[in-house]
Symmetry: C2
Subunit: 225 residues, 2 copies
C-alpha cells in the first residue's frame, strides 16, 4: 500500500474531499448503472441475452460493494458520498434512455469504457490504496465480447441499424461529457483536484482528447465506424 | 463428492431429468427474482434501502451463475433447463406484484425462505454434488436482518400496516404453493421424483405442513403474527 501525495496546488483536506467525491460519483454510477441495466435486461430478445445483461448489472453491484467498503474504511457512509451526484447521473440516464436492445448494450459497452478511461487517468493522483481500488473496479468484467458480437451481427445484417447506432454512440459521449462538466463545475475541490492533476486547463483538454480517441476506438470495435 | 442413489421407484434417466428440472426451476427462480427485486429497489424510500435491495438482487444472480455452471457441467444449457418454468414463475410474480416497499421486502424475505425450505427438503435426494450446490445456493445471503428490522419498525409504528402485511404474507404462501403444484403437475418425472422422495402422497402432505410451519415462524420473526 503506497500513499501518493496530492497533486501540487491542492491541500490535503481538499484532496481528501475530492477523493470522497470521486468515489461517490463512481458509487452512484454503479448503482444507477445497475438500475438501468436491470431494466434493460427485461427487454432482451432472448432468455440468454436477458441472463447476460442481468449478470452485467449484478457485476456493477459487486463494484458498488467494494466502493462502499472502501468509503466505510475512510469513515464515510456511501450514501452521503453519492448524494451530491444523484441528479447529474439521473439526468444522464434520462437523456440516454435506450429505445432498443441494441442501444442498451451499446450504452453499457461505451459507458463502461468511458468511465474506465476517465478513472484510469485520475487513479494515479489518488492515494495508493484508493487508486488501486479504482483500477480494480474499472477492470473489464469480461462481458465486452458479448456486446461486440451482438452489435457486429446486427450491423452486418442491416446498414441502417449501424448508422443509427453510430449516431447513438456519438450522442452518448456528448451527454457523458456534459454531465461530467456539470459535476465538476459544482464541486470546487473536485475541479481543483482535476485541474492540478492534469497540470492545467490544456491538460484537461488533452485528457478529453484521449477519452474521445478511445471512445472512437471502442466504436470501431463494435463496427460503428 | 458423494453420489446418492435416486429415490426408490424412479429410474436413473428419470431422476436425471427431474434433477435438471429442479435446477431449471431454481435458475429461473433466481433470474426472475433478480428482475423483480431490481425493479422493487427503484421504489425504495431511501438511497440506503435502494442499495440494499439492489445488493440482494445481485446476490440472486450470483446463485444463478452457480446453477448455470453446474448445469453446463451436466451438458445442459441453462436456458433450456429454465424454459419450461418461465410461465409458472412469471404467473407467480404477476399475481404477487408488491404495491409498496414493505410488501417488496416481505416478499423477498418470505419467498427466499419458502424456496430454501423446499429445496433443503429435496437436496438429500439429489446426487451428492448437486445436493451440495443446492444447499449452497439456498444459504442465507445475510440480508435477513435488514428485512426483519424494516418490517418490525413499520409494524410497531402502525397496527394496520402489520395487519395488511400479515395478510400479504399468507397470500404469498398460497400463491407459491399454487404455482409449485402447477409445475409438478406438468412434469411427470418431477412428480414421480418428489412422490418417491417423500415416500408417498402422505409424505408430500407432511412436507407441505413443514413448509407452512416454517413460513409461520418467519412471519413471526417479521412481527407479522
Amino acid at each position: 500500500m503506497t500513499t501518493a501525495a496530492p497533486p501540487d496546488g491542492i491541500d490535503e483536506p481538499g484532496a481528501a474531499r475530492a477523493t470522497v467525491d470521486l468515489l461517490g460519483v463512481l458509487a452512484y454510477g454503479e448503482l444507477s448503472a445497475f438500475d438501468r441495466i436491470s431494466e434493460d435486461a427485461r427487454a432482451a430478445p432472448t432468455l440468454a441475452g436477458r441472463a447476460t445483461l442481468s449478470k452485467i448489472a449484478a457485476a456493477e453491484m459487486g463494484h458498488f460493494v467494494l466502493l462502499e467498503q472502501h468509503l466505510n474504511g475512510m469513515g464515510v457512509v456511501v450514501e452521503d458520498a453519492m448524494l451530491p451526484f444523484v441528479a447529474a447521473w439521473d439526468s444522464y440516464h434520462a437523456s440516454t434512455a435506450p429505445r432498443s436492445w441494441l442501444e442498451s448494450i451499446v450504452k453499457v459497452y461505451l459507458g463502461d469504457g468511458l468511465a474506465a478511461d476517465f478513472y484510469r487517468e485520475i487513479s494515479g493522483w489518488l492515494p495508493g490504496a484508493t487508486g488501486e481500488l479504482v483500477q480494480r473496479v474499472m477492470a473489464d468484467t469480461g462481458h465486452s465480447a458479448f456486446a461486440e458480437r451482438e452489435v457486429h451481427a446486427a450491423c452486418q445484417a442491416d446498414r441502417r441499424t449501424r448508422d443509427r447506432l453510430a449516431l447513438w454512440g456519438r450522442r452518448l459521449l456528448g451527454e457523458a461529457v456534459t454531465q461530467a462538466q456539470h459535476i465538476v463545475a459544482e464541486r470546487d475541490e473536485l475541479a481543483v483536484f482535476i485541474i492540478t492533476g492534469t497540470g492545467d486547463l490544456s491538460g484537461i483538454a488533452s485528457l478529453l482528447k484521449r477519452v474521445q480517441f478511445n471512445h472512437g476506438k471502442r466504436m470501431a470495435k463494435l463496427g460503428l465506424n
